[in-house]
């Protein structure tokens, strides 16, 4: 998993570099400062899901299956809120502000970078949802905590990337 994270980090690095390189190079509007709003609530949801997934795996390790279920479910909900939030943000940008991926360089880099991250969130959520289904079927045992621990690394990585994306897109980029 660490190897995969190394490879994924390199991919994100390239996209982040492209974003930074193209800040302010768009030839036509809309510009980031006109249309972007800082998604504070979303960010809080996603970052706190890192904590809840940690608590979930910790609970499972000490054989508290019910606590695990609760924390795992909260993680799923928090991640979903983030994804829905991103979707609403995109809807707002596309239909009200008229910014699409082919509008200008900002659109190209913004949708690619945030989209790449959202894609990783989606993959993570599918994994979390699968584990949730197995939990509800009563198939998840404390013996599985190591696997879920490895999986949670991926989720932490997705969160950590968001910190960088957030900084680059919503703070520096604006």
């Amino acid at each position: 998993m660490f190897s995969l994270i190394a490879a994924e980090s390199a991919i994100f690095t390239i996209f982040v570099i492209a974003y930074i390189f193209y800040i302010g190079k768009s030839l036509s509007g809309p510009m980031p400062k006109d249309v972007l709003e800082v998604p504070i609530f979303n960010t809080i949801c996603l970052l706190s899901s890192s904590l809840t997934i940690h608590l979930a795996v910790k609970a499972l390790r000490s054989a508290k299956v019910n606590a695990f279920r609760l924390w795992w479910f909260i993680t799923l909900v928090l991640g979903s809120i983030f994804l829905v939030g991103t979707g609403r943000e995109w809807q707002h940008l596309i239909f009200e502000k008229g910014l699409t991926i082919s509008t200008n360089l900002f659109g190209t880099t913004y949708y690619s970078l945030v989209g790449l991250h959202a894609f990783h969130v989606t993959v993570g959520l599918i994994g979390i949802a699968l584990a949730m289904i197995f939990t509800l079927l009563g198939k998840v045992q404390p013996a599985h905590s190591e696997r879920l621990d490895v999986f949670s690394l991926y989720w932490h990585f997705v969160d950590a990337v968001w910190v960088i994306v957030f900084t680059v897109v919503y703070i520096i980029g604006r």
Partner: protein, 557 residues
């Protein structure tokens, strides 16, 4: 120790219909079968890419030749480069790694056997996708068409305006798909090497092949991923109307160059480090001495791994970077020569005073040492930015990197083929044909690539379709093309030797070379489970300890 086998009787012994045996190969997750699949797949593309090279060379045989049309020439040039790098050298190196690493570290399989199969089929699918472009490249517009943007695919050549049809998309997707396969293989290598070593094999006692492949896999994460990202961007540009590399909307063509070469240069080391690994196994065995400077060898490899990540822009001196960037990349390029030089001295130190046996594998390795040194020296020349301004984009550069890839990597590869052929097939290759292969290939190689430097210095640009008479290039191009044909004859002998020995070769026995690493302790070919009992090792040369209990290695390490 591990040479015992488990007798398999019953259904497995009965010969089964061909379809069933083929089915076994398709669904296999065994590292040995996957390794062989990789190698066969790569050999196929070696022949395909070789034919493309011959078409290029025949076209350049004489001035104003029209053996093929300019369009076909561009396609051949692109396909030759892409095929040889992504679908020949990479798969063959991954194939040897997949086959040998578990055997060398005393494991029964890779850490993730199914991921291993997935990676192979992704790579295979990538190759098919690339070659499907001959049929489907033009989509609904008409006849077939292959990518013709060169293997760097510089923007804006790849934009919709200059590259209509789907040929560039096939190129992009083929590399994206095979890149995913490469990352999967690299994950597998790292996990296998770090987690599956047999008892007693500390990192310091691991065979160098495993060490070097570990470093290579680490580089794959940092080198192939940027390419995957850049290909994704190119797809966004071509399909979703993005502007990453679209200069008319403020995008940057230079950014693509940076992204491509930040993959492209570490890629050279991804390819050459496994070649170093073959040398580090073959040279000691045929010099009858343990490797000279094992820890330094490991340190130098890791050093190459780091430094090579910061040399990419020496491919871009003529783009017009500022003088600080030029100096920085000149210095790092010089610096990467230092650990590489250390390695050359270590192999020479291993040979020095040894009782050298010049069998075919050793001949190829000796050729490697000599040629790789020259390739490194022209590399240092080209790394100096003022010199680069003069010769960048000329045949001198083509000669230089073919010296690295053919004179270095391919020679080491042929050495590896002959060295491990008895283990993989269970039969010895034909030594006479092997020597013929070496000498023909060696002479052909030097005819082609030594003389290719000269038209480069005389000003012949790379990638030109044809040239005018009277510039002093004719004789050199003639020699180069004749050399290419001699090389092709050598490769033909190689293929014949492999196939013929499979039927008629003498049985090889477990350990034909009197070697020291664990793969030679199993039968040839190894049983499906590799080791009946997991071996326990005490030194870097476990088989030496076994053969010489009175004077074991571990007393001195």
């Amino acid at each position: 120790m591990a040479s015992e086998t488990i007798a398999i009787t019953g259904p497995a012994e009965i010969s089964r219909p061909l379809s069933e045996r083929l089915h076994d190969w398709i669904i296999t997750v065994d590292h040995k079968k996957l390794g062989i699949l990789y190698i066969i797949y790569a050999l196929f593309f070696l022949v395909v890419g070789g034919i493309e090279a011959l078409i290029i060379r025949i076209q350049l045989l004489v001035p104003h030749n029209d053996f093929v049309s300019p369009q076909v020439f561009n396609r051949m040039m692109t396909m030759h480069g892409t095929t040889m790098i992504f679908f020949m050298v990479m798969p063959v190196l991954f194939g040897f790694g997949t086959y040998l690493i578990p055997l060398m570290i005393g494991a029964r399989d890779m850490a993730f056997p199914r991921l291993n199969a997935f990676s192979f089929w992704m790579t295979a699918f990538g190759g098919l996708l690339l070659y499907f472009s001959f049929i489907g490249g033009n989509g609904l517009y008409g006849a077939g068409n292959a990518p013709d943007v060169g293997w760097w695919a510089y923007a804006p050549l790849t934009s919709r305006a200059f590259s209509v049809g789907h040929s560039t998309d096939f190129w992009t997707l083929a590399l994206l798909v095979s890149g995913v396969g490469s990352i999967g293989t690299a994950v597998n290598f790292v996990t296998t090497i770090l987690c599956m070593r047999c008892p007693g094999m500390t990192l310091g006692k691991m065979p160098l092949l495993a060490w070097l492949n570990l470093v290579m896999a680490g580089m794959v994460f940092l080198a192939i991923s940027p390419l995957t990202a850049a290909q994704a961007m190119l797809c966004i540009d071509r399909y979703l109307g993005g502007h990453f590399f679209d200069t008319q909307a403020g995008g940057s063509a230079v950014l693509w160059m940076h992204f491509f070469w930040i993959f492209g240069h570490p890629e050279v080391y991804v390819l050459v480090i496994p070649a170093f690994a073959f040398l580090s196994e073959i040279v000691p065995v045929f010099s009858r001495k343990p490797i000279f400077g094992y820890p330094v060898m490991v340190a130098a490899t890791i050093c190459i791994g780091f430094v090579s990540l910061s040399v990419w822009a020496h491919h871009m001196f003529t783009v017009g970077m500022n003088s600080y960037a030029n100096s920085f990349f000149t210095i790092t390029t010089m610096a990467v020569g230092v650990p590489t030089g250390i390695k050359i001295f270590n192999w020479l130190g291993t040979m020095w005073g040894g009782k050298i046996i010049f069998r075919t594998p050793m001949l190829f390795c000796t050729g490697f040492l000599f040629q790789f040194l020259i390739a490194g020296l022209t590399g240092i020349m080209l790394g100096a930015s003022p010199f680069n301004w003069q010769l960048s984009g000329s045949y001198f550069v083509v000669a230089h990197f073919h010296y690295v890839i053919v004179g270095g990597i391919v020679f080491a590869l042929f050495g590896a083929f002959y060295y491990w052929y008895p283990k993989i097939s269970g039969r010895m290759y034909n030594e006479v044909l092997g020597k013929w292969h070496f000498w023909l290939f060696f002479i052909g190689f030097h005819m082609t690539f030594d003389f290719m430097h000269i038209p480069g210095i005389l000003g012949m640009p790379r990638r030109i379709y044809t040239y005018e008479p009277g510039r002093g290039w004719e004789i050199w191009n003639l020699i180069v093309t004749v050399g290419a044909l001699v090389q092709a004859a050598g490769v033909l002998i190689f293929v014949v030797n492999l196939l013929w020995s499979l039927w008629k070769g003498d049985p090889a026995g477990n350990d034909p070379w009197d070697a020291w690493t664990l793969e030679w302790s199993t039968t040839s070919p190894p049983p499906e489970y590799d080791f009946a009992t997991i071996p326990v090792v005490h030194s870097r040369r476990p088989l030496w300890d076994l053969k010489h209990p009175e004077d074991p290695d571990w007393k001195y390490e």
